[in-house]
Amino acid sequence: MPLQLSAKSAPKLLQEFTDSYTLSKEGFAKILGEILHFSIERFIENSIFSQEKFDQSIINDLIERALRKYPDPLPNRSKIISEAQNLLNNFFKNREVVEEIRELLLKAKNILIEPQAYFHEKQEVLRPDILVINLKEVILIEIKLRASDYTEEQVTEYIRLLKNLFPNHPIRVYLLTIDPPALKEILREGKEEEKYAEKLSHSTQLSLFG
């Protein structure tokens, strides 16, 4: 067939194929990632962090909601659910991280979950995970399953976008990892002693604002 994804002479198909085949490693990871993002974002959006104790049923409900858009038959559905439950349970058991998040949200005037924005410098539509808008600053929280999933390029673009959208607000950036649970500040603008990212172990994260 001449309809190829990469050949030179044949017509190229500019097509994204959706891999939701949960028997493949990639498909499984994609859906798991979606559930985790959805659950944590919804916790933040609905201020469930202020609750004293996290009920297992809340976690189960969020996982179930996150999966609603995937009709059955979805192979490995129960395996995905159980993996998501484990990771989220561990995450919410970590009171230290949960408390840090709660504190981060205390002064929030508005919380934006996955807002879509056009970034004119790169002529792209971007969708950062969470923006916490305070009176005097904007906080970007980027969620990743593991610290190694984090890429400097992605966050750099988000920061440039936010500088365009909120030119008068200093920006703070946090990386929220799920496994293991951690909240790390990557950037804090607007203070004299601008705080740089705490160096993470992954080699691609070293030179963000250096």
Binding site: P11, E16, Y21, N164
Partner: protein
């Protein structure tokens, strides 16, 4: 706040909408992140986002939420519904319904019928859900439906309740049920707040089902009490005409009154209809070549980024996609940089013809034919000749050659162990081991599938071995695998859906159904490059120029799949809306206003049997143009396109020629040997060179039976010199039919109803036929019944070939006294409804000269020669068989010197209502004119000995009932 606007499609709908949005942001101080736009298609979402960006491209900004309808429903479901639920694919619901039917004892005996009917049953339930209707038992179901389908309708309420509770117990909801739940929730006081959206824009909706309009109605009510701002925007130019009936119905359903909205006065010109060129083409290849050659001029100087709003190819018939892509490839020269090299498709990509799909379908077909451990030899060999197998097993050609020799003509059915033992003895252990691997992969793995998951394993095993051998960047392959991995395999891995369906045939038939429907919807993301769209995807979009292909009836508007349970009468009984073409009319009219230039092509009428008919929209277009006083151009494509350079046939090798020569030297040639080649050289290759036996279908079986009855009835008259007493023959019909019926076990072959009907048809025809002959006082004597005639044909020494033997066996030979003259009749009985003679063609044939045919000509000339020859015998080779018999009779029976005034090759047509006989006629003085047939047969022999290809037939309807259809398809696909 509730608003409702009509935006003229000609004012660039999405552009106007984006202006409305920016105006609202400014005037009403909306927060963009609390605004949501909902569109009927994902495509409109992409274009709207692009439009917002283009209108404000110099700065960064937050975008509103932009949903397709499907995304919007998921969003509302997830936010509003507090009880857990899951959605299920239609294939999954079909399994649950199958189980329900079994539990209620409403299933057929044959799982194949169950699988067929369940799909139709499910559609009934879906339709009822969409309209929010409760089911009603049908006390008197329509006649003509099978008993079980009638019982289903008689017990509709029970089945529905049982099925719904089964689905609910597993937490499954129909989409319509979900819509209903969302609408209910929105009627409560506060839940709408969970949507975190203060303003909704519903754009371009129309012709809503009850479940949809109820949901949108909830947003109308929320706006009326000022909980939300809701804006409806429809595509229509109210200045030009009253809103279309489709829109009027929508306004009524939602309780709206819409006003015309124009935001930019400069756009509001009295826009006329687009400039339109209509072009009739003869086939899909010509059509796509024509479109692509025009397209090449249009894209000159354009970039891939700018193409999406400039040019669109609209392809309502998904089968046209593949030839279109071939043609696009042709139009771009090697090394040239053209925006046409980057395409983006938003349409279902048909995958039925993918070689892996064909291979899997053949495996299923073969399993259906297996009796215990034995397979029919012809089918067994057919699997082994699939081209994909050659990739896996390099020794396959050698193995096939041996197998053909060993099995052909010796076995009707054969077990795998038997074949392996035979090969072991004749060829040794290496080939035996290779064969055993093939058997495991394509036969044994499929034999013992006692649970659905094993089918998935058998498929995965085939894919595991095949995929490394196929190109990784082949988009069609990726689409096929994605379809497989998301739609097919998961179904067989979810055991709970198969509970209660123990019969191993269920998974097989379900798999076959999924393979037969195989297609993958390409979403057209990201928005860049040449846009190829389905027609519905064009809704709300504007293009500077659009090419609309295949504007044929049945394509646009599309022909709906017929469901015998949802006829117009049944729909009206259930209270379901009866769809007319008005919805498509609305789409077409708005589309017309959304383009500046339109190039329309359709496939013209080929012949009296042609199924191609120009769409009703072409007539509508003419009407619209006539009404507005504009002119409509017509373009006739040039007929001199360069030859397509992909293979048009199976390449002929020296080995093939050897085989043909050997056949010519050693076998008597029948008319079928010639006719098959004329009809389709590829079929000749499969039948005479690969020696794959043709399937004997019910029609052929019926033909044999009828011949037998006719012979039985007339045998007594062959021994006498008397004229036949047709009255007596008429009286013998019933008894003879019964006798042959019993002797041949016909009743076992057909189901009871068919058996009765076929028997009645044959009895009825024969009685009427002989009775008519009797009443007309026809005087005939029988000269011979099915006797064989053999004649020599001299060949001019090609490759040492001096003569070949030709043979024929016509059903009846008779002589007839009529008006004082004696005529000679060569009669052939036909059961096919399409049989018929072409007397004009025959008269023409008598008078023409057969041109010489010289080998070593171009491929085009070889093909053309076949076409020329065919044209002498009628469009369906109607006269060939009887001309062949006529030639044989003349050669062998010295008819030139006989007392017969006329020779009459005659057809007896069993399915004819009026004239049971149809004759050609040649008087004695003209008999010499048949000599040219020898010349033609000679040329046909040389043709096949020198042709570069066994060409695929150009006439697609030749393939309809062809036994070699699937194998041929694999060859076509692999060679292109």
């Amino acid at each position: 706040m509730l608003r409702s606007y009509l935006i003229p499609p000609s004012s660039h709908f999405l552009d106007s909408l984006s202006r409305l949005y920016f105006r609202d942001l400014e005037e009403k101080k909306y927060n963009p992140l609390e605004v949501a736009f909902v569109f009927p298609t994902g495509r409109a979402c992409l274009y709207f986002t692009r439009r917002l960006i283009q209108n404000k491209s110099s700065e960064s900004f937050f975008l509103p939420k932009i949903f397709s309808w499907e995304e919007f429903i998921n969003f509302c479901g997830e936010r509003l519904i507090d009880v857990s639920y899951k959605l299920l694919t239609n294939a999954g619901f079909e399994l649950l319904l199958l189980r329900t039917l079994k539990e209620l004892g409403l299933n057929f005996k044959d799982p194949e019928e169950d699988v067929y009917w369940t799909r139709h049953y499910l559609q009934v339930f879906e339709e009822l859900e969409k309209e929010g209707l409760t089911s009603k038992d049908l006390k008197i179901p329509p006649e003509g439906l099978p008993n079980k389908a009638q019982e289903f309708l008689e017990n509709l309420t029970t089945v529905y309740e049982h099925f719904k509770s089964r689905s609910a117990s597993l937490n499954y909801l129909f989409e319509a049920q979900l819509l209903h739940k969302i609408a209910e929730k929105l009627q409560e006081a506060d839940p709408y707040k969970k949507l975190k959206t203060s303003s909704f824009y519903f754009c371009g909706f129309g012709a809503l089902r009850k479940s949809e309009s109820n949901l949108l109605r909830a947003f109308v009510e929320l706006a009326k009490i000022d909980n939300l701002d809701t804006t409806f925007v429809f595509a229509w130019d109210a200045e030009k005409a009253e809103p279309h009936p489709i829109l009027q119905r929508t306004f009524k359903d939602l309780g709206l009154t819409a006003e015309r909205l124009i935001l930019d006065a400069s756009i509001e010109s009295s826009k006329k209809l687009p400039s339109v060129i209509i072009s009739e083409t003869s086939d899909v290849h010509e059509e796509v070549e024509l479109v692509c050659s025009n397209l090449k001029k249009d894209v000159d100087g354009l970039s891939a980024e700018s193409l999406p709003e400039k040019i669109a190819l609209i392809v309502p018939r998904e089968e046209t996609l593949v030839p279109l892509i071939h043609a696009l490839e042709e139009v771009v020269e090697e090394g040239e940089h053209s925006p046409l090299q980057e395409t983006n498709i938003a349409q279902s990509f048909p995958l039925y013809h993918h070689p892996i799909n064909i291979l899997l379908l053949n495996i299923i077909k073969l399993q259906k034919e297996r009796v215990d451990d034995k397979y029919p030899v012809a089918k067994y060999l057919e699997i082994l000749t699939q081209p994909l197998l050659k990739l896996l097993f390099p020794f396959l050609p050698q193995l096939l050659e041996v197998l053909s020799k060993v099995l052909q003509n010796k076995y009707g059915r054969v077990s795998l162990d038997e074949v392996e033992a035979l090969i072991g003895v004749s060829e040794g252990s290496f080939l035996q081991a290779e064969l055993s691997k093939i058997h495991d992969l394509f036969f044994r793995n499929w034999e013992n599938v006692d649970e659905p998951a094993k089918i998935a394993q058998a498929i995965e095993e085939v894919l595991r071995l095949l995929l490394p051998l196929l190109p990784k960047d082949d988009a069609e392959l990726i689409a096929y695998l994605t379809y497989f991995q998301t739609e097919v395999l998961p179904l067989f891995l979810q055991n709970e859906l198969w509970e209660g369906l123990k019969d191993r045939r269920y998974p097989f038939y379900q798999l076959r159904k999924l393979l037969e429907r195989a297609k993958y919807y390409l979403s057209g993301k990201p928005l860049k490059g040449l846009q190829i769209l389905g027609f519905l995807e064009t809704r709300l979009l504007n293009f500077k120029k659009a090419y609309l292909l295949d504007l044929n009836e049945g394509v646009l508007p599309p022909r709906e799949d017929f469901n015998p349970l949802l006829t117009d009468e049944m729909r009206s009984y259930f209270g379901l809306p009866v769809f007319t073409s008005s919805l498509w009319d609305y789409y077409f009219l708005t589309f017309l206003e959304s383009v500046d230039e339109l190039f329309i092509s359709y496939i013209g009428v080929e012949g009296e049997d042609s199924a191609n008919e120009p769409s009703r929209f072409i007539y509508r277009l003419r009407y619209e143009f006539a009404k507005s006083g504009q002119s409509l151009s017509k373009e006739t494509p040039l007929r001199s396109f360069p030859q397509r350079n992909f293979q048009e046939g199976i390449p002929v090798t020296d080995e093939h020629r050897e085989l043909i020569l050997s056949y010519l030297k050693n076998t008597q040639l029948s008319r079928s040997f010639f006719e098959t080649y004329l009809r389709c050289p590829a079929k000749f290759y499969f039948k005479y060179l690969l020696k794959i036996k043709e399937e004997e279908g019910d029609a052929a079986f019926l033909g044999n039976i009828t011949h037998e009855i006719l012979a039985e009835l007339l045998i007594p008259w062959i021994k006498t010199n008397d004229f036949i007493d047709f009255g007596e023959v008429t009286q013998n019909v019933d008894e003879t039919v019964n006798k042959v019926w019993e002797l041949k076990g016909v009743a076992k072959k057909f189901d009871p109803l068919l058996n009765l009907m076929v028997k009645m048809l044959i009895q009825g025809f024969l009685k009427k036929y002989f009775q008519t002959l009797s009443e007309q006082g026809i005087k005939r004597r029988v000269l011979g019944i099915e006797d064989e005639v053999i004649a020599d044909l001299t060949i001019n020494g090609y490759e040492g070939l001096s003569t070949v033997k030709l043979y024929g066996r016509c059903d009846l030979r008779m002589e007839e006294e009529a008006s004082g003259s004696l005529n000679y009749l060569i009669l052939d009985l036909k059961t096919s409804a399409s049989a018929g003679l072409k007397s004009k063609s025959f008269q023409k044939f008598l008078d023409i000269k057969i041109d010489d045919f010289k080998p070593s000509q171009t491929s085009y000339e070889y093909q053309k020669k076949l076409e020329d020859w065919k044209s002498h015998f009628g469009s369906n080779l109607n006269n060939f068989q009887l001309t062949f018999y006529l030639w044989l009779e003349i050669e062998k029976r010295n008819l030139t010197n006989s007392d017969y005034s006329y020779i009459k090759p005659t057809l007896i047509k069993i399915t004819s209502k009026d004239e049971p006989e149809e004759s050609l006629s040649i008087n004695k003085a003209e008999i010499f004119k048949i000599n040219k047939f020898s010349n033609l047969l000679r040329q046909m022999i040389v043709h096949r000995l020198t042709t570069p290809y066994f060409y695929f037939t150009e006439k697609d309807n030749n393939c309809d009932w062809c036994s070699y259809y699937s194998i041929c398809l694999s060859y076509r696909l692999s060679s292109s």
